[in-house]
Amino acid sequence: MNTAAVDNVASMPSASRPCPYREGDLLPAFKSAPISRAVIALFAGASNDHNPIHIDIDAARAAGLDDVFVQGMLPMAYLGRMLTDVFGQDALREFGVRFVNITYVHDALECIGRVETVEGIAGGWRVGVAVSAINPRGDLALSGDAVIELKS
């Protein structure tokens, strides 16, 4: 445990134990399976995103693309799973991403989370996490951040 973080938290009268996370901690790695056309179709139905550009190759071609591409909200949901796996959904206060590069059919995404900030708040800690999803070409698909509040 990082000594500076412990000292910091110990100075907060509300915290009875050190925060279990510290700056620089990596969340357990999370890698999706390659995203199939079936998954894209299922996600279109389940997420209510019926934009044909994701599910109808004719619509994609009419828009000047070679093929359909993955809804950005699917990799965002994968990042959400990474966060709730570790912290639980109740702890999540904010979660935002920027969609950097299109995710293509058959891409498997590597989801990465890193603790950036830990601060003491009344009754616990606020943890800032940077999140990103990397595609098989090594490019950033999404990048973003989350704010987590944990009870001490």
Partner: protein, 152 residues
């Protein structure tokens, strides 16, 4: 061209039921394996009133509308020119199966970059539950690929 006169536009609110079956379909589509997202009893054991909506589900509630792309039409944007630029969620209270959520979309910002090659529309959606409590907020940036503006 995106039209700055839309700044402040409030789209007619719509109310949706959060359905357990749809939540399970969504959880399945994103590969979720945690039992509290799939099984009612497990959700209750984890402290939820009912199956919880995953972190990104608010976006799907927005699209759960007979005419989900109506706002895009109001903005006079062609759907196949639209990219999802950013998405952020702010969580105030859990959203669970059985809830009835009223969504209110407001256009917060409209601007252009790269000499008009790209248009940006920022939309904030509030999600209010059946008790009148603010459950969450969603903020998205819609990016519009548009023809480059002629030099005057």
């Amino acid at each position: 061209m995106v039209d700055t006169s839309h700044i402040g536009y409030r789209h007619p609110p719509h109310t949706v039921d959060v359905e357990a079956g749809k939540l399970r379909s969504f959880a399945k589509a994103i590969g979720e394996t945690r039992s509290e997202y799939l099984d009612e009893a497990a959700a209750r054991a984890a402290g939820y009133r009912a199956l919880p909506a995953p972190p990104t589900y608010m976006f799907s509630l927005e699209l759960d509308h007979p005419d989900p792309f109506a706002l895009v039409r109001v903005l006079k944007i062609k759907l196949h020119h639209v990219l999802h630029g950013t998405q952020r969620f702010i969580y105030h209270r859990p959203v669970c199966a059985g809830d009835r959520i009223t969504l209110q979309q407001t256009v917060e910002e409209v601007f252009e970059k790269n000499d008009g090659a790209l248009g940006f529309v920022v939309v904030r959606t509030t999600a209010t539950n059946q008790l009148g409590e603010l459950a969450g907020e969603a903020v998205k940036t819609i990016v519009v690929r548009q023809k480059k503006a002629k030099a005057s």
